[in-house]
């Protein structure tokens, strides 16, 4: 018999956690002498009050969907992939190599190959830690952290060396061919007569992210591989007895996770920057951890959590303009508190709620 109903497990507990995280964030804003309710209002109107705000919110949400799905996919095999940051960075190299290889005439022709390039490089960067975990027993958390730093160093080397644009001082590649430009929301909606901000970077990758979310759901809950991954994550020993190959599952789960994180490069490098720059991931790999926790590792939850975190990021920029005493890093504090309350302090809320439901049930019978 379950201790509490499913709706309480899936919605009530995360909701209370989220409220606690926001209350704690509000206290921080209060402590530096500002009005937390005004801050919330600025953030919400900044994120949703204009098509430009919505466009940026969706653009960030796209990134977080990719990294959140990456973390969640590995979570299902009980692997904690902290390496999204590095995998996405290296995926940028893969995407850039593809996009610079030809003078692509059309974006829809370039996109599938760019996806393959990004996913392959991101997956490869996750493969080594996965292999070491599966074969040599080195903890994937530590190796993926190490690979984040190695990836950043490699990126610095490439962008200051062979991939550097010789015409500029910055560590960046030359611009991609004009034909690789992905349609933005503005360009997609204009023929339908809907006006959308021209400056917002949200592009066709947003739909790619939604597609990836559906695909992750399908693979995890509708295929044999997904079943094996979830069984392995649930109980490694039981899975071994059932004849599931632990090495194979570990490596496949991590490589798919790395490939998902790598797709972030499509949104940022191909969709927004139009060239490869050094620190384009901007911490999205880590936000993915918060997104996966918030979304309970379910693709539907991850899409919702990504939208929330997209709003937070975009709202945080607006906060910086309208409330100069509160700096942009407030977003980081809120994210940290959400990870803390929904991820690490989950039992603090769960235990009392469980006890409450047990008491209610006893009262009835």
């Amino acid at each position: 018999m379950d201790k509490m109903p499913r709706w309480a497990d899936v919605f009530l507990v995360p909701f209370i956690n989220l409220i606690l995280a926001f209350v704690a964030s509000g206290l921080v804003v209060l402590a530096i002498g500002e009005n937390p309710f005004r801050a919330i209002w600025i953030m919400i109107s900044g994120a949703l009050g204009s098509t430009s705000g919505i466009g940026y919110t969706l653009y960030y949400a796209t990134n977080y969907m990719f990294t959140g799905l990456a973390v969640a996919f590995a979570f299902h095999a009980r692997l904690f992939n902290i390496g999204g940051e590095g995998q996405a960075t290296i995926a940028g190299v893969g995407a850039a190599l593809v996009l610079l290889a030809f003078d692509w005439p059309y974006w829809w022709l370039a996109l599938p190959f760019a996806i393959i390039g990004a996913a392959a490089f991101g997956g490869a960067w996750a493969f080594i830690p996965a292999y070491l975990q599966a074969k040599r027993g080195s903890h994937v958390v530590i190796t993926t952290i190490m690979f984040n730093f190695i990836g950043a160093a490699l990126m610095g080397y490439l962008l200051n060396g062979i991939m550097k644009n010789p015409d500029t001082q910055n560590a960046e590649t030359v611009a991609f061919p004009a034909g690789t430009h992905l349609p933005t929301m503005h360009e997609m909606l204009a023929p339908l007569g809907i006006s959308f901000s021209r400056s917002a970077p949200v592009n066709v990758s947003f739909f790619l992210a939604l597609g990836a979310a559906w695909l992750v759901w399908f693979v995890l809950w509708r295929t044999r591989l997904g079943y094996q991954i979830r069984a392995f994550g649930h109980s490694e020993t039981a899975a071994r007895y059932a004849g599931i190959d632990a090495v194979r599952i570990t490596i496949i789960a991590m490589v798919i996770s790395g490939a998902l994180a790598g797709l972030l490069a499509i949104n940022v490098v191909m969709g927004e920057q139009g060239r490869l720059i050094k620190e384009f991931v901007e911490g999205a790999g880590f936000v993915g951890i918060a997104v996966a926790l918030m979304g309970r590792s379910h693709p539907f939850g991850i899409v919702l959590a990504s939208l929330l975190f997209g709003m937070l990021t975009q709202g945080g920029f607006e906060l910086m303009w309208d409330m100069p005493t509160v700096s942009r890093e407030m977003v980081l504090v809120i994210q940290a508190l959400i990870i803390l309350f929904t991820g690490a302090l989950d039992n603090m809320v769960r235990d009392p709620v469980e006890r409450l439901f047990l008491k209610l049930r006893k009262g009835k019978s």
Partner: protein, 326 residues
Amino acid sequence: MDFANTFMQLLLTMDMTVRLSVTLILACLAGLFSERAGIFDIGLEGKMLIAAFLSAVVAYQTGNAWWGVLAGIGGSMALSVIHGLTSITFRGNQLISGVALNFLASGLTVVVGNAWFKQGGRTPTLSGNARFHEITLPFADAVQNVPVIGQFYAQVVSGHKPIVYIAFAVVPLTWWILYRTRFGLRLRAVGENPAAVDTAGVSVTRMRYGAVMIAGVLCGVAGAYLATSQAAGFGREMTAGRGYIALAALIFAKWRPFYALGATLLFGLLEAISNLYPNINVFGIIDIPVQFTQALPYILTVVILAGFVGKAVPPKAGGEPYVKER
């Protein structure tokens, strides 16, 4: 290049190695206490960052660097309390808790620093007694002209700030606590087999909180060193990944105090080399890029972790919350 010149270069490199290793040593030992008791701590970075910030603030306000160190320890221990609550009391995921605390420190320091000082997250520059100053050890001036040994003593051993000597003293102290006291025996046992310790009538919870708190103190000193000794004030993200290098060093050292000293000195040397000689040319054939030297600590750690050079076996009960059987 003549011999004297090369030797001076060598001394300069060693001197810099010592100074750059201090934060790594303290953070690595912090991790050692915590992980030996079975609590993973990837929040070393965050604890040092918040300690660096608070030490800079308090040293600036009081004009005394030692008050700064105390404040740094306090801030770091506050995060330790949270880590203890999440991973011991509420049996949460220790890795996730560490990630959250790193985020929290990196956000809070800038938000609060910016609100207080309006310098984009930096604190005002420390001067006078708000910073630590070099100590010249006895006879250092007298022997500085004695070749080799005298020069080594004057250049590398003498002339550091107080926390440097504290850090190097903590290494044998850690060894002594872990291997020669009852507390140390229990601490190691709690990380290997908590149920046995519990059966012996020792509180697993109390031991683990103790270890996490010690880690807090050491990270506090490490962070205070960054802001009041190595630099003159706090700058955003000034720990720059040192908490993670310390974690790497801990694995490299196979969770042992003196090995930890060796590993952190090696990683400190690599940082010193990449600072002093950004581009190294080997025999005029290959240029070693600075990024390679910077990434080397991480690459070495992965190699060690992979078990190609000796095997690093972590404490057995690491990362697992202890639940008493009923």
